[in-house]
Symmetry: C2
Subunit: 325 residues, 2 copies
C-alpha cells in the first residue's frame, strides 16, 4: 500500500507531539487517607485524636490497560517507598506498573510513613521497634546472615551472586521506619476499608503484608481478583482457606532461602497455607525464582538489580489471568 | 488561508492521540532520601541506626516550563501530603505546578511521614507533640478560635466566609502527624543538602518551614532563585538579611489575621524580618490576600476552596520574575 505523503506527515506530527514510550501519561494522580477512628486520650494534652488511618497515593494512567486497579502493599518497617525509585536510583515497580497501564494505588499502612502514628502505649500497645542498619542486611538475605553487615562496602559479606544493589545499601537504610508488633487489627481494618473503596482489584503485597492481604481477601473475596505475594511473611486463616477458592494466587520466593536461618520455616508456613487453599479447589502457585532460572534475588526483590525482570514475571502472570488488555 | 483537508486530519489525529490538556505527562517520577547520619544507640537494641534523613518525591514534566525546579516544603505537624489532593478531594498545588510544567519536588522533612523518625530522647530530645483534632481548626484560622471546633459540622463555628472546606475537616485531621520542637538543626541540615542536590530552584514553603527556608536560603543564596512564603511562621536570621538581597521574595497571608489571638504577632514578626531584607536592598513583598480582594483564606490556603486561585497568584508572580517560559 502506498501511503499518501500527507498521511506520513500526520503520523510524524502525531509521534513528535505525544509522549515518548518512556514517559508516564496520567489522567490523574493524588492521595487520600482511609479509615482510622477518634480516640480520647489524656495528657498529650487531653482531647480527641484521629488515629489508625492509612495513606494511599494513586496514579491513574491516561490509557488504562489493567481491567482492575493494582494495589501495592509494603512490608514491615517499611512504607510505600519500597516500590518507588530503587536505592541505587533505578525505576521501581510503581513506575513499571503505571507505565504498563495499571491504575496503581501505593499505600503507607497504619503507623507508617504518611499514615502518621498514634500515642503509645495509649493507642498502640507497647514500644516501637527500630531496625539497626545491620538488621535488614542480615535478615533479608542480602548478606550471609548474622555478622555479614559492614558499613564499609568492601567489608560487607553479601550472598554470592546477590541481585540486591548492596553498594547502595546505606541509602536503603534511609527508608526504614519504626514499627509496632501490636497493630495488626487496625491495619487489617484500614486495608479492608481501602479494598471496599477501590476494588475489585489486584493486590501485590510484600513480606509482613502477607498476613494482612490474605486475611483481607478472605474477608472480601468478591473484591479481590488476584493476589501476588512477594515473599509473604505469613498466610491467612487456614480455617477460611475456602474463601480464597476463586482468587488466583501467585507467591514468589527468591534465592538462598535454604541457607538462611529463618526463611525455610517462613516459606514452608506459606506453602502449607497455599496447599490448604488448593485442597479446597483454589489455584495457588508457589514460584521459586531460582527453579525458573532467576537467581540471586533477596527478600527486597522490588529493589534487586533484576527488579524489572521480576515485575515482568508478575505482569505476564496477570496477563495470563486475563486481567490486562 | 484555506487549510488542506489532510492537514486538518493531521491536526485531529494529533489532538486525539495525545494527552488532553487536563492530563499530566511526565518524563519521570520517583523519590529519594537525603541527609541524615549514623547514630549508635543502646538498648533499642544496641547498634548503629540511620537517623535524621528526609524524603523527597519528584515529578518531572515532559515539557518543562519552569527555568528551575520548584520545591514544596510543608508546615509543622504535617507532611508533603499538604500539597496533594485537598481534604475534599480537589487537586492540590502539586498537580497544579506539575501541570504548569514545573519540575516539582515535594518533601517530608526530618521526623515526618516517609522521612521516618528516630528514637527519643536518644536522638530527638524530648517528647513528640500530637495535635488534637480541635487544634488546627482553632489555631489555623479555620474556626473562630478556642472552642470553635465540634466533630459535628453543624455545630462547628467556622470563621465567616472561610474558604477552608470545613465539611471535610475530619478528613484533614487524618494527615496530621506527630512532631518534635527540638529538631530544627537536623531539619535545616537536611534541607540544605536537598538544595545542594537539586537547586538552583524556587522554594514554596508553608508555616513552620518559614524558619527553615529563609535560613537555608541565607546559607545557600546562590542556589535559591525565588522564595514564596505561604503564611510563614517565622523569618530567617536578621543579622544575615543581606544574604537574601538578590532573591525575590513573596510572602502571602490570608484572611482574619487581625481577629486571631496569635496571627497578628506572627505576621508582624515576618514583616519585620522582610523589612530588614528590603533595608539592605532586597526585594521582599508582603501580600495580604484580603487587600487584593481575595477573602476568606485560612492558614491552610493550599487546601482552601480557592486554592488554585492562590496557586495562580504564585504562578503569576513567578512568571513576572522570569522563572517560567
Amino acid at each position: 500500500m502506498r501511503i499518501p505523503p500527507l498521511r506520513v506527515l500526520a503520523l510524524v506530527i502525531t509521534l513528535a507531539a505525544c509522549a515518548s514510550p518512556a514517559s508516564i501519561e496520567l489522567r490523574d494522580m493524588g492521595s487520600f487517607h482511609v479509615g482510622g477512628r477518634e480516640a480520647v486520650i489524656s495528657g498529650k494534652p487531653n482531647g480527641a485524636y484521629q488515629v489508625e488511618q492509612m495513606y494511599v497515593q494513586y496514579f491513574l494512567p491516561a490509557r488504562e490497560r489493567g481491567t482492575v486497579p493494582l494495589l501495592l502493599w509494603h512490608g514491615g518497617g517499611l512504607t510505600g517507598v519500597s516500590y518507588e525509585t530503587t536505592p541505587d536510583g533505578r525505576e521501581g515497580w510503581l513506575n513499571y506498573f503505571v507505565k504498563k497501564g495499571w491504575a496503581t494505588f501505593n499505600s503507607d499502612a497504619v503507623e507508617r510513613g504518611r499514615a502518621g502514628w498514634a500515642p503509645y502505649p495509649d493507642i498502640f500497645p507497647g514500644e516501637p521497634i527500630f531496625l539497626t542498619k545491620a538488621d535488614p542486611f542480615e535478615r533479608f538475605r542480602i548478606g550471609q546472615g548474622r555478622g555479614s553487615y559492614n558499613r564499609d562496602v568492601a567489608l560487607m559479606k553479601p550472598l554470592p551472586g546477590t541481585q540486591f544493589p548492596f553498594e547502595a545499601y546505606e541509602n536503603f537504610t534511609r527508608q526504614l521506619v519504626p514499627r509496632w508488633t501490636t497493630t495488626d487489627a487496625p491495619t487489617i481494618a484500614a486495608y479492608a476499608l481501602l479494598v471496599d473503596r477501590i476494588c475489585p482489584c489486584v493486590i501485590v503485597f510484600h513480606s509482613q503484608a502477607g498476613q494482612f492481604a490474605f486475611k483481607v481477601a478472605q474477608a472480601r473475596p468478591d473484591k479481590v481478583k488476584a493476589l501476588v505475594a512477594v515473599e509473604p511473611g505469613g498466610g491467612g486463616d487456614p480455617a477460611q482457606a475456602a474463601a480464597l477458592k476463586g482468587i488466583p494466587i501467585l507467591a514468589l520466593f527468591g534465592d538462598h532461602i535454604e541457607r538462611d536461618a529463618r526463611w525455610p520455616a517462613i516459606r514452608a508456613n506459606v506453602v502449607k497455607f497455599l496447599e490448604s487453599v488448593r485442597e479446597v479447589g483454589g489455584r495457588a502457585e508457589v514460584r521459586d525464582l531460582p527453579k525458573a532460572g532467576i537467581r540471586g534475588n533477596s527478600h527486597m526483590m522490588m529493589m534487586d538489580k533484576n527488579s524489572l525482570e521480576i515485575a515482568g514475571v508478575i505482569q505476564t502472570w496477570l496477563e495470563r489471568e486475563g486481567l490486562w488488555r
